[in-house]
Amino acid sequence: MAKFVLMLPHAPDRYQNLGEAEFMDLMKDYIGWVEDMTAKGKFEGGEKLMDEGGKIVTNTSGTIEVHDGPFAEVAEILGGYMVINAEDYDEAVEIARSHPHMKHNETIIIRQTDASADE
């Protein structure tokens, strides 16, 4: 069984100005899905990222510069990530299809972790 990281981006203003009931419903969908996947042994874990844009550290010209993120032009910010178990990309994609993020947002980025050096 391989591990895949699901990255869950959303529009910067996606969760602003949501009514309480609406927010509750969204979160219930997500939490319900995670519970289902955990019961099936597919869910490994995840982290929610803080809502502020974070920092970006660059070294373009030999000096290290620190910027506050996100850059103004980004269409989406990364809200968090989850790690799931799947046989292959086909299964990972199937799992992503069922993810409430696909109902409430637009994009999930899937990357397989490289476990080739692990025992």
Partner: protein
């Protein structure tokens, strides 16, 4: 039920229960003039918890987890504005853990209810405030319990909170024992309304919310324990809650649909709860005054003791409704009275009551009124009128399972 449905229900339960607990605890720490702040802190905490669980799953002890997060949020916020509120930065949040282990009624909830029932606030607004802040009903739920729009409700809530603030000031504390007893009848009303919502919500996916019913029973129990002298009608109210609560498991079929009193398997009724109900009903006879709760508990007791639908003492029930209507001439009572007459085959009297009900404001919005009309029409052999009445019931705001029930009636009568 899938595990995802379970999760939804669990979250509803936790959020509703914890919101009331958090607000009550905060108000007891910060003082009566800080209901607004307490609501904000509770809301922040709940949102914060709900935003992280999607990435972690629900923690093993969600309640304790939520309270810990809430405690941190509260302390953080209060620390930031400690000077403004003049609150000691190190105030103790420590009671939360013990409350997790013994989930008995915590006093802050009753105290906040008492606070909401401040006589300077319009009596109706007292109910709104208590149901919204202590009982954890959402704004939408509170609004539809009273057939109001959410906007109208929120205006009245802010008015009530302004009054409360003006009245209590920073130094004010909870009322004296004597002032407290004057508020008790209103507290009973809050508990009664809270239970009514849990028993038959007017919106949402649930046929009933047993968490809300249980909570109402617990608040009532706590109040009975706390108050030395009996408030007129409290034992009767408690009996009523227990009788109604005892039938909850029988009200829902395996497929989730509503089962009427006539269809219910009476073996599923909770006999212990019924026995406890009769004890409280007995205690209620010592009450200083005859209240509506006595009469309603009397009606519920008739059902509780009947071994079957056919053996129900309908003449007694009709008589109770008559007395109840003399005391509380409400539309819902009038409609139920009519239904009891229908079942007793007194069609003319039933029609009189329903005609009288039709002239009352709110009849159009009350599904029970239309369903009673339909029943009457069917008994008179007027299928067309019955169909129309059921369709009118369907147009009212009801929960999804009740809508499904009405749809079934509609198709059966077609």
């Amino acid at each position: 039920m899938t595990s995802s449905d379970d999760t939804h229900q669990l979250l509803d339960d936790i959020v509703r229960r914890e919101r009331g607990w958090l607000i009550s605890s905060l108000v007891s720490k910060l003082g009566p003039s800080k209901v607004d702040l307490a609501e904000d802190v509770a809301q922040d905490a709940i949102v914060k918890a709900l935003a992280t669980w999607p990435f972690k799953g629900v923690p093993d002890n969600p309640r304790a987890w939520l309270r810990r997060v809430a405690g941190n949020v509260a302390i953080d916020r209060i620390r930031r504005s400690a000077r403004e509120f003049g609150v000691d930065e190190d105030w103790d949040w420590g009671t939360s853990e013990t409350d997790v282990i013994t989930p008995s009624l915590s006093d802050p909830e009753l105290d906040l209810m008492v606070l909401c029932c401040d006589p300077s606030i319009d009596p109706q607004d007292q109910l709104f405030l208590a149901l919204k802040t202590v009982c954890g009903l959402t704004a939408a739920e509170t609004a539809s319990l009273f057939f109001m729009t959410e906007d109208a409700l929120s205006q009245r809530l802010s008015r009530a909170k302004r009054k409360l603030k003006a009245q209590s000031g920073d130094l004010a504390r909870f009322p004296t024992r004597c002032a407290l007893s004057a508020r008790l009848p209103q507290l009973l009303k809050v508990i009664y309304l809270m239970f009514a919502w849990g028993y038959l919500p007017r919106r949402g996916d649930d046929l009933f919310r047993d968490d809300i019913c249980r909570e109402a029973v617990r608040l009532s129990e706590g109040l009975l324990r706390k108050i030395d002298g009996e408030t007129a009608g409290h034992h009767a109210l408690h009996a009523l809650l227990l009788f109604q609560m005892s039938r909850l498991p029988a009200r829902r079929a395996d497929d989730g649909r509503l089962l009427t009193l006539e269809e219910q398997d009476r073996n599923l009724w909770d006999r212990d709860m019924i026995a406890a109900g009769f004890e409280h009903l007995q205690a209620a006879t010592a009450s200083a005054a005859l209240t509506r709760y006595h009469l309603e508990a009397g009606i519920a007791s008739m059902h509780a003791e009947a071994r079957s639908w056919g053996e129900t003492n309908w003449p007694a029930i009709t008589r109770f409704y008559e007395l109840l209507h003399a005391k509380v001439p409400s539309l819902a009572v009038l409609v139920n009275w009519a239904v009891s007459l229908l079942i007793s085959d007194d069609l003319d009297a039933a029609r009189d009551k329903l005609d009288a009900a039709s002239k009352r404001p709110g009849a159009e919005a009350l599904p029970a009124y239309h369903l009673a009309r339909a029943q009457l029409a069917m008994r008179m052999g007027d299928d067309e009128a019955a169909q129309a009445a059921i369709a009118a019931a369907r147009a009212c705001q009801v929960s999804a399972p009740v809508a499904a029930y009405i749809d079934r009636e509609l198709s059966l009568s077609a």
